[in-house]
């Protein structure tokens, strides 16, 4: 009887330990999965609220070869504030430098509806008036739920 009680106790403790280990493992793996899904979800939400569009007349974009200056105007068309210091531009396949950024219309922050003027220099690229080129612009938003949204778009423009 005593042997039966001891083995029963051992079985109970073993069962509890196995259950505890399995539960801990499952909860830990589920926690990791949930965090991963949350991060992806927040990123998708931040990206969906980040948007921009060209405000310059694409038929008449100013280009000055000697001073390497392409003037572009970009409107924040998303819901989040954009960071004017974190803009990426590719001009005809060449990564370009944004030399200067300023907001039009007395704005101090690049909120929805506001327009930023960019002075871009595609180093080493020779272009002329009348030429049609493709520009790709990448913008980044302020943090939304700890994550920054990104958006990119391409436009064909004609230089003057």
């Amino acid at each position: 009887m005593a042997d039966g009680g001891t083995s029963e106790l051992i079985m109970l403790i073993s069962g509890l330990m196995v259950a505890g280990i399995v539960t801990t493992l499952l909860i830990a793996s589920w926690g990791g999965l949930a965090n991963s899904v949350d991060t992806v979800q927040n990123q998708a939400e931040a990206n969906s609220k980040t948007k921009a569009a060209l405000t310059s007349d694409p038929m008449q974009v100013s280009w000055d070869q000697p001073s390497c200056n392409l003037s572009l105007h970009i409107q924040n068309t998303g819901a989040l504030e954009l960071l004017d210091g974190e803009i990426g531009i590719i001009v005809n396949g060449t990564a370009s430098t944004v030399n200067q950024t300023r907001l039009l219309g007395n704005s101090s922050v690049w909120t929805s509806g506001e327009v930023a003027e960019l002075q871009v220099c595609p180093s080493g690229v020779t272009m002329s008036a009348g030429q049609e080129i493709t520009v790709t612009i990448v913008v980044r938003s302020e943090h939304y739920q700890g994550i920054s949204g990104q958006y990119s778009f391409s436009e064909v423009i004609r230089l003057v």
Partner: protein
């Protein structure tokens, strides 16, 4: 023996039910967030310039909202002959919104342009351009 096995099974079962509940809750939250993402995506406005003319330094425009979104003149920018974009509401203050299906005659004075050739409008992703007649 039978009692301890039952207790163990009860504990394991309860733990698994708890995990299932957590999973369901998280999935439900995910679906909710996904629907918010889809619902939050707005369409671009469809703005159209019908015609444009200039007389004595005043620019006359007929503009229509061909889409389903309202268009705010605060978020509408005009570029004349490729120059620096100007905010429409800075020059036109008789109305602030162009409603879907609405066509407005807009007069812009004080822009400094005489005999312009082309005007381009951009508003929250919607674009339109036209030559002056």
């Amino acid at each position: 023996m039978g009692g301890s096995v039952s207790i163990s099974a009860l504990i394991v079962g309860t733990a698994l039910l708890g995990i299932f509940a957590l999973a369901s809750l998280s999935l439900s939250n995910s679906a909710l967030s996904a629907s918010e993402v889809v619902g939050g995506a707005t369409d671009e406005p469809e703005i159209r310039l019908i015609n444009a003319s200039e007389s004595n330094g005043v620019i006359h425009l007929n503009m229509t909202n061909a889409g389903d979104e309202t268009i705010s003149f605060d978020q509408t920018w005009l570029s004349i002959d490729g120059a620096l974009p100007i905010r429409a509401s800075d020059y036109h203050n008789q109305s602030t919104i162009l409603f879907p299906g609405e066509t407005l005659h807009i007069q812009l004075s004080g822009t400094g342009f005489t005999s312009p050739a082309r005007i381009f409008v951009a508003s929250m992703g919607g674009q339109s351009g036209i030559s002056f007649s």
